[in-house]
């Protein structure tokens, strides 16, 4: 199973990816093995269906947004391995000794910000916040209550009074949050 896939990944590719993301070669091989197992059509790329075939992701309330995060970089609705790894690199734990490019605290925060900011205008509007809230609670909270919750959240974080949250306001709202711990996952070697 693993043998076949590791042959198709070249040494040079592994080195490039290591330089770009900071993953170890063994971790990259494991991710490649996972990539090929998700790629049911053997096309070398992943589609949205390939992601949503993962049961745990399919029932995650934020499932669609997570999948969307992978496709933000690609133009043609397919994710290749480089893009796959680059997105996952944001969730590498921060190690003081290693050089952190994609998984530095600011990069993690930017990733989280992009999850809210669908239209990419560098601002989280009330509608965008409501959209995320709605995904998280489904039908269990009334629209009125959701509205007031969203208003309150924006009010608390809004500094310049434009009713929208910029990236700086977002970062200061999350100042005391342990972003490193909340947005890191373990990658097996």
């Amino acid at each position: 199973m693993g043998n076949k896939s590791s042959l198709m990944l070249q040494e040079q590719d592994i080195r490039d990816i290591q330089a770009e993301t900071g993953f170890l070669p063994s971790q990259i091989e494991r991710l490649y093995s996972r990539f090929t197992s998700l790629d049911k059509g053997d096309s070398g790329t992943l589609s949205r269906e390939d992601f949503l075939r993962i049961p745990e992701l399919a029932i995650n309330p934020l499932g669609d947004r997570i999948v969307h995060a992978f496709f933000k970089e690609s133009e043609d609705d397919h994710v290749n391995f480089r893009q796959f790894v680059r997105v996952l690199a944001h969730f590498r734990p921060i190690k003081k000794a290693q050089d952190n490019k994609l998984n530095a605290r600011e990069e993690k925060l930017r990733f989280a910000f992009k999850m809210y900011d669908l239209d990419d205008d560098e601002r989280i509007s009330r509608e965008e916040l409501l959209a995320v809230l709605h995904m998280m609670v489904g039908e269990n909270i009334s629209d009125d209550q959701l509205n007031s919750i969203a208003e309150r959240t924006i009010l608390e974080a809004d500094r310049d009074g434009d009713q929208m949250i910029s990236f700086e306001e977002f970062c200061s709202a999350l100042e005391r949050t342990d972003v490193e711990q909340k947005m890191s996952i373990k990658f097996l070697k």
Partner: protein, 543 residues
């Protein structure tokens, strides 16, 4: 007759020659094969009693320890069991402040004190989603388990950079020669002999009139025949707690491979339930049916299904008939996890005997992950051995006011604890997701609603939240004091009562409806038919 054998021998020899084997080696190979054949025959027929199979496994053990030492791996092989129990996934799931995406009992982080939404609240779900992308428990359970040290089979060599020293390579080459040239052909031969023997014996016993004597004879004969078959593919089984061996009623076990039935049948005679089929399998089924009361039925026929359910009930009440073997998971899992048990057989009022089966993956993997059955058989016959541990657990009864689902959970928790498995709330329905999209989507949205509901609790009255947090703290404290298995069953029971408090009545109805079908569905030996069977049950529901 003599020239027939002569022709066979010459064609066999030429076959060997066509392998590219040198002429000079041929007589040694043939001689070696004869030795192996005799050994195998001996081991298969009486080896179980004489503990010959155990000795073989011990020899293998020492070879593997040597190999591990050469590879520079310090961990002794005995730790394999513990390693499985303390696997990373289990620890992560038990982390009390982490979000758990689980179909039946999801867990959300406690919300902020004033019941407001903060930007960091969805982050754990984001991380959980990414974790699922990298590795999800369901896919892991359906692929063959990873080994910690190498066992000389090239199929488990997953690390590209596994450096082989010279002596190790020699060992590996010798291993390949032994397995492919000696073990495989002889195993094939002995298996054929043993299967023929099974059919003949069953038919012979079937000729006797119905009586107590016939039942006892059947038990002894069939057990010995299955032992013969098991020995021919080098199944080495160890049975623990034989005082709990099932004598009647229903025996339930976790399902890993098509040979589960056979392994269990070497120690106790069971009656099987399954799909009628033609061909070679049909021959075995009819032979077995002659000597004992198995329940074979045609899944696609609704009335046959209902009748089979009725017969099952009657059979389980009759204490003089052998116990029925059922696999409530409904699908083969890779022996590291136990999936959701279907409640059908747990709703009958009879004694349930739980059995935990654990395969030792170091010697050979019995899990069917290959593409075809023939490849699977080939892979099994060229492994070193199939080593199994079977634990008989004390019989259980459904308590008063306990639902079938809760009882099934209780049994599942015990089996998981005994075998050292992770408990998963996913059910084998997942394998349907390629064939029955609409059913899968419905189930998915139901599960997603559960996660959403769990998160929405953030915004409810603070007093209620405090109450729940106190409860959760209690659960966690109890959890830390008690043992693993009990912990899991208690926690899942508590979680279930908590979730049930909040469950809408309509949701419950929906789930009950879809489960009602499974009442009529029975598990079979062959995994391939499970898919077909599920499809047909769903079609009936659609009607």
């Amino acid at each position: 007759m003599a020239w027939g054998i002569g022709i066979l021998r010459s064609s066999y020899e030429s076959l060997l020659l066509s392998y590219g084997v040198w002429e000079a080696l041929l007589p040694y190979i043939i001689w070696g094969q004869r030795v192996v054949f005799v050994c195998l025959l001996l081991v298969a027929t009486v080896g179980g009693r004489l503990r010959l199979r155990r000795k073989y496994v011990q020899v293998l053990d020492s070879v593997f320890t040597f190999a591990a030492a050469k590879l520079g791996d310090e961990t002794p092989l005995e730790e394999e069991g513990e390693a499985r129990r303390d696997s990373d996934e289990v620890h992560e799931a038990k982390d009390s402040d982490r979000v758990v995406i689980d179909p039946e009992s999801p867990k959300a982080e406690p919300g902020s004190p004033d019941g407001s939404f903060k930007f960091q609240d969805p982050l754990p779900y984001l991380a959980a989603g990414m974790r699922a992308v990298v590795s999800d428990c369901v896919t892991k359970s359906f692929t063959s388990a990873e080994l910690r040290t190498w066992n000389m089979l090239s199929r488990t060599k997953h690390k590209r950079y596994l450096r082989l020293s010279r002596s190790l390579t020699v060992f590996w080459v010798v291993g390949v020669v032994i397995r492919y040239l000696f073990l495989f052909p002889m195993r094939l031969l002995v298996t054929v002999i043993s299967l023929a023997n099974l059919v003949v014996c069953c038919i012979a016993v079937g000729l006797l009139p119905e009586s107590e004597f016939k039942r006892r004879l059947n038990a002894k004969v069939v057990t010995w025949c299955f032992d013969f078959v098991a020995g021919s593919i080098s199944v080495v089984a160890r049975f623990h707690n034989p005082e709990n061996r099932p004598t009647h009623g229903i025996a339930v076990a976790n399902h890993t491979s098509p040979i589960d039935c056979m392994v269990l049948a070497t120690d106790q005679c069971y009656d099987m339930v399954g799909q009628k089929s033609g061909g070679i399998l049909g021959v075995f089924m009819s032979a077995l049916s002659k000597s004992s009361t198995h329940i074979w039925f045609e899944r696609t026929e609704a009335n046959q299904r209902a009748e089979a359910a009725k017969r099952l009930r009657e059979h389980s009440q009759n204490t003089r008939l052998p116990p029925i073997l059922i696999f409530p998971e409904g699908c083969c899992v890779n022996n590291t996890a136990v999936m959701q048990f279907k409640k059908g057989s747990f709703e009958m009022d009879c004694t349930i005997y739980p059995i935990a089966i654990r395969f030792d993956p170091r010697y050979g993997d019995a899990f069917w992950y290959q593409d075809t059955f023939v490849q699977y058989l080939f892979s099994m016959m060229t492994s070193w051995a199939i080593v199994v541990d079977v634990w008989y657990l004390p019989p259980m009864q459904r308590r008063q006011n306990e639902s079938g689902v809760a009882f099934a959970q209780r049994v599942k928790a015990l089996i998981a604890h005994r075998g050292g498995f992770v408990q998963l709330a996913w059910d084998g329905l997942i394998k349907l997701h390629t064939t029955k999209q609409d059913v899968w989507r419905l189930k998915q949205s139901q599960w997603r609603q559960k996660q959403q509901k769990e998160f929405a609790r953030h915004f409810e009255e603070r007093e209620e939240e405090e109450e729940e947090e106190k409860e959760e703290d209690e659960v966690n404290r109890d959890v830390n004091v008690k043992e693993n298995g009990q912990m899991e069953s208690e926690e899942s029971a508590k979680q279930e009562t908590k979730v049930e408090k909040r469950r809408k009545y309509s949701e419950k109805e929906e789930i009950k409806e879809s489960d009602a079908d499974e009442n009529e569905k029975r598990d079979v030996k062959r995994e391939e038919e499970t898919g077909k069977g599920n499809t047909n049950t769903r079609e009936k529901k659609a009607q």
